[in-house]
């Protein structure tokens, strides 16, 4: 207990305004660039085919809104409960299997939500193996003889989404727990609190920023989900967007609904900001003690094991096992020469997006840190709203500026040099990578920002006084400190991009398939078996990074190596 710990509110901004101008201008430019698709959607919203609102308000709107809220609330609760509990157990307690749970709890992250939804529908419906065996066991003949929960409901959708989204909360909260000083907890204990009370009154409040970020990510993902809710016939605002767009041929009206959804998200982000006010803490000590590792005994132990293994079982093992079973059954028809090409395309797009997001993220976050400009801060925050848009809407937002630019350039070149440049960017992988970047910037930024926030400004001061420029400080001081966060962010973006579907479909070049688009053409027709191999490959490709991620989180506890 000889450590010193100092929790110091960040009242002072790092400011070296002379050198930071370039950074600020650059960051504003990037933010503007990233916001182009959103701007395009706003532009669309001003030109609806007809005013959709009187019809919507008198018919489906209340339903859309309440469904959306119920779903978000449900997924919020589900992910918080599962994520925080598991994070606490594997970080602070000792019980059998803990080391495996640490990384295995991240596995469901690699599962696309719509695939999990398909798998469970297959398993749990009347003709599925579960109900068939129940009927066999109890000698029931008809559906009316027994009650079985229907999976294609709000509850089902909440369960499916929570199963694949809780890892966001788990991962970020765990990182936060890992970085908490044991002293604070021990102080709590010495002052007479039980471990349980310490969790509620000390650890959880300290982890709140991470918890809120994780939950916000999960809720935004819920908001823009279309695959699952469409399959389960839960009509959210996103369903409304597509109905107005495709069935009423009114993309302007659809864009308006999309903007209403953005307001939801901005509200969410604002709440998150507000909840963090005055709660920014940098840890200033470099000395950390090993975490306590409460030894769990008796039923506590079994509870922890069950609590940690069920998300893995239901969120990963069962769906992945089912996919593997189907894939084996259809292996010969699925394992074609093209298949390898799809996998390569997926890998290429996802790594490119991951790297781009991190580079952009670091640049923007560091520019904010250097300048402390309020305007830039807001711009950075705004630049992340792309995450909340349904992918297909975002894709339209990307089409508009890209094709506009291409056609403008083509026109100029024709009139000046009589050369046609045609479409340079539209219909190329660049458009797709840009769309991924816009969409997943928030996911990557999270890692960057939380990483940077933890580095005390004293470090910047010291480095700058010793003669390093902003770039040198970033490279030699910050980068080594936040490497774990960057890697984590990059991996999240990678995994999310592997799963991304709607934007890829709309923006891709001719004859270009990724694993996700290949899976989709069958899955959309409920032909899950035919595409199981593809779906399984998406999952496997996601596993490796997920394990890497877990290692980096573990290593992120300062002084970890020594402990």
């Amino acid at each position: 207990m000889s450590e010193t710990i100092e929790l110091q509110p960040a009242q002072r901004q790092v400011s070296f305004s002379r050198n930071s101008l370039r950074w600020v201008v650059g960051a504003f430019a990037i933010a503007g660039f990233v916001l182009l698709p959103v701007a395009a959607i706003i532009w669309l919203a001003f030109n609806p085919e007809e005013n959709i609102w009187p019809h919507l308000i008198s018919t489906m709107l209340p339903r859309y809104v309440s469904n959306t809220l119920v779903l978000m609330l449900g997924v919020g609760l589900g992910t918080i409960t599962g994520g925080v509990m598991c994070a606490w157990f594997v970080t602070m307690c000792n019980f059998p299997g803990k080391r495996i749970f640490e990384w295995a709890l991240l596995l469901p992250l690699a599962m696309p939500a719509y695939v999990v939804a398909y798998v469970y529908t297959d398993l749990l419906e009347y003709a599925g193996p579960v109900q068939t065996s129940l009927r066999y066991l109890f000698d029931w003949k008809l559906k009316s003889e027994y009650w079985f929960p229907d999976i294609r409901t709000h509850g089902g959708a909440i369960a499916m989404l929570s199963l694949v989204l809780y890892p966001y909360v788990y991962m970020l909260t765990r990182a936060a727990f890992l970085q908490q000083s044991v002293c604070v907890l021990e102080a709590g204990r010495v002052l007479g609190r039980s471990p349980w009370a310490c969790f509620w009154s000390v650890a959880l409040p300290l982890a709140r920023p991470a918890l809120v970020v994780g939950t916000a990510l999960a809720m935004m993902e819920t908001l823009n989900d279309f695959g699952t809710i469409d399959f389960f016939a839960v009509h959210t605002l996103t369903a409304g967007i597509f109905d107005v767009w495709l069935n009423m041929s009114n993309i302007g009206g659809a864009a308006q609904i999309a903007l209403v959804m953005l307001l939801f998200v901005i509200g969410l982000l604002w709440i998150e900001r507000a909840s963090r006010k005055g709660q920014k803490y940098h840890s200033t000590t470099t000395r950390y003690k090993a975490l306590p590792g409460y030894q769990l005994k008796g039923w506590h132990k079994y509870f922890a094991i069950v609590a940690c293994s069920s998300p893995i079982l239901f969120g990963f093992l069962i769906p992945a096992g089912t996919l593997a079973f189907y894939a084996a059954r259809r292996f010969e028809e699925s394992w074609t020469s093209e298949f390898f090409g799809y996998a390569l395309n997926s890998l290429f797009l996802s790594s490119a997006a991951a790297i781009l997001v991190i580079v952009v993220g670091v640049f923007m976050a560091y520019a904010v840190r250097l300048s402390g400009q309020k305007g830039l801060k807001t711009a950075t925050r705004l630049a992340s709203v792309g995450y909340a848009m349904p992918g297909a809407v975002l894709a339209i937002g990307v089409l508009i500026p890209f094709a506009g630019f291409d056609n403008f350039l083509d026109g100029q070149m024709r009139s000046l040099f009589d050369v046609s440049t045609g479409l340079l960017l539209s219909g190329t992988v660049i458009a797709i990578i840009f769309a991924y970047t816009v969409r997943f910037l928030t996911v990557g930024m999270g890692g960057v920002e939380t990483g940077l926030a933890k580095v005390t400004p004293n470090m910047d001061d010291a480095s700058r006084m010793l003669g390093e420029g902003p770039l040198g400080t970033l490279r030699r001081v910050h980068f080594p400190l936040i490497r774990g966060g960057l890697l984590g962010g990059a991996i999240l973006v990678f995994v999310d991009s592997m799963k991304e579907l709607p934007a890829t479909l709309i923006l891709r070049p001719f004859n270009y398939d990724t694993l996700a688009t290949y899976v989709y053409q069958f899955a959309s027709d409920e032909l899950l078996e035919e595409c199981a191999l593809g779906a399984l490959t998406i999952v496997i490709a996601g596993i490796l990074p997920v394990i890497l991620l877990s290692r980096s989180i573990r290593a992120s506890r300062p002084g970890h190596e020594q402990s």
Binding site: D243, S249, S524
Partner: protein, 343 residues
Amino acid sequence: MKKDLLGLGAAIAIAAVSIAGLMKTSQAAEEVNVYSYRQPFLIDPMFDAFTKETGIAVNVVYAKKGLEQRIKQEGPNSPADLIMSVDIGRLSSIVNKGLTQPVESEILETAIPANLRSTENQWFALTTRARIVYASKDRVPEGDLTTYEDLADPKFKGRICTRAGNHSYNLALIASMIDVHGEAKTEEWLKGLKANLARKPQGNDRAQVKAIWQGECDLSIGNTYYMGKMMSDKKQIEWANSVRIIFPNQEGRGTHINVSGVSMAKYAPNRENAQKLMEFLVSDKAQALYAELNFEYPVKEGVEWSPVVNTWGQFKTDDISLDTIASLRDEASKLIDKVGFNE
């Protein structure tokens, strides 16, 4: 290390550009570009046959939504030659936005009956499918249901399954009802049908037949080709065997049909090849492939139906113009919302 990251980013960007460039130049000299709302695995066999016969490569982008916006934004530089769709709604929406051009072709005009192509030659149907009622062999006696109107009969309370009301196939059917009965009557009918549903609308047409097999419902609405698909699948054949097909309204206006079709993009860069492909798709060979592989009805007279499809028998089709259906789609869609059909 920041430099490394930047360098890496730059390298990726360069790689991306060069790959994008490669992709543009690597396309064959003779080609035709298709934007398709139809799944590739359903149309690839026809395209392969075309390439084999003519040496013209067919490039495809498939998406379920957004292709119209893509063509619109790409403008005069759009590489799209043809747009293929599985419903008239999408096609006519693209035509109405002025994104297509007429095709004057004797081959198309002789092959396709007049009610299955636009009067201005802006779109052409390639196949038709009937929107029929699947009925449980065990639980629905012959002659119990003979019309779409019967679906709203209270005697079927809690016995009907369907996919979402605002799916394009159902919208087209509802549009045809609006045309015959007017909006108010159709709304009544929809309310009646809604009251008869065994469960909230969900899944695709095939899933409804499965639900009949499972005993969840006795009747469902669906397209014909799903029957053929289920019969050629070792697992789903059981589902198919549990139902029989009813062609509604045989005594009256006939059974509603929907179409898959094609339009030529306004700025098609490979106009000639595109027309060749269109004409190929209505050739005996391609039409027979459609019939055989996808269990659809060929638009061209005299082309053999698939043996499976033949067993369902001949039937009278509703000859309502597809343009009318397209124009009533919006109304149909709003009715669905109004009666809360999907809840």
